[in-house]
Amino acid sequence: MKYIQPSFFENKVLPLLSFLYTDTMYGNQYDFYRIKDVLDQFSHGQFLCKQWAVDEVQQFIEPEDTIAVIGGWYGLMSHMLAESGFTNDILDYEIDSVCIDFHDKLKVHNNISICHQDGFEMFDDKELNGKEKIIICTACEHIDKDDLYEYMSIKNPYARVLLQSNNMHDIASHINCHESIDHFIDTLPEMNILYKGTKKIDDYERYMVIAK
């Protein structure tokens, strides 16, 4: 599997799942559904869409660029970026504190930092906006369309963004799905499109745009 080693599962993912199972038997810090949520992060579709992102974004990353991953969940995107050979600083933003705990447990690469914060808040901060030169969000289906438009409107024009969404309308947690890549791009402010594409994964489509 590209950008992920079998040892990652052996040393990180499986021990985390084992820990979670035991914890949910005797404690109440974590709930049983977390096991499923972690499994979903490491699903076939998740690997494919992150691998696609790494493959396409690498040509736009300079050695001095800082990379921000927004809504990093349990950290698969940042892990695969580092695993592909990038030694750039990678900041992984996530608002779910449990994801932060587990991201720490899963972390392999020292160039990854984990921030318990809404990554989109960087756009409201004059100092932070543009500090990260590459901004990645592969979970735009979970981001309000109007919010995403607003954040992209105020982003530093030098920052490159990689955004992914999909057409999985039936999932109740998906609030920003699309019919096609062009439909997705139509909901964003005008940007210089560096890459756009569609990937069929199982029975759904995922859309990706890299823009400046």
Binding site: D31, F32, D96, K145, A172, S173, I175
Partner: protein
């Protein structure tokens, strides 16, 4: 003269139901009560009853929009009852609604589900929010807990009934006779 007062609310979000579905359900309910009827919706087009807008933020999908009614800033006040659009009302359900303890939300009790042997992490529930009665601006914990991690909650639970059940909120259920007034 009716001594009771309550708002009847019909939720329409997205494209699953049409304005016609709302209008038809409202007409049925008007046969049994003369309470004000509102459509809680993101699209009031062609709806013939008064409409109340679903809050734009945070954006929710499908049935999760029911939880907006537990917000402290919900636009309606006093006693409220929400009917799903996919239930068929065949008799007057209001005798089983009017006299509930309005201090806590009430739901239909799917009593037959108690015999099902689901594991706890299925979050299967005996409550059914196809009819849901509550007093606006009370029990805001229903919204507060949800709001703490909306994305996770909407992934974890296959609907608001399971969320409410698993959170062990304080609630009541209608008399089981309410089942004789509707077809679920």
């Amino acid at each position: 003269m009716n001594i009771y007062y309550m708002n009847i609310i019909l939720l329409k979000h997205g494209k699953k139901y049409t304005a016609n579905d709302v209008n038809r359900q409202a007409e049925k309910l008007m046969n049994y009560a003369n309470y004000p009827i509102f459509c809680f919706t993101d699209d009031p087009k062609d709806v013939i009853i008064d409409c109340v807008s679903i809050p734009k933020k945070p954006k929710l999908m499908k049935w999760w929009n029911k939880l907006h009614v537990y917000r402290h800033d919900f636009v309606l006040s006093d006693k409220c009852v929400m009917f799903d659009l996919d239930i068929d009302i065949i008799k007057n359900p209001f005798p089983y609604i009017e006299n509930i303890d309005w201090r806590i939300p009430h739901f239909i009790h799917d009593h037959w589900k108690k015999d099902l042997s689901y594991q706890p992490h299925a979050y299967e529930t005996e409550i059914n929010s196809s009819i849901m009665a509550w007093t606006a601006h009370r029990n805001t914990e229903y919204w507060w807990w949800f709001e703490q991690n909306i994305d996770y909650n909407t992934r974890k639970y296959a609907g608001i009934d399971r969320y409410i059940w698993d959170k062990k909120f304080n609630y009541g259920t209608f008399d089981n006779e309410i089942h004789s007034t509707i077809i679920l």
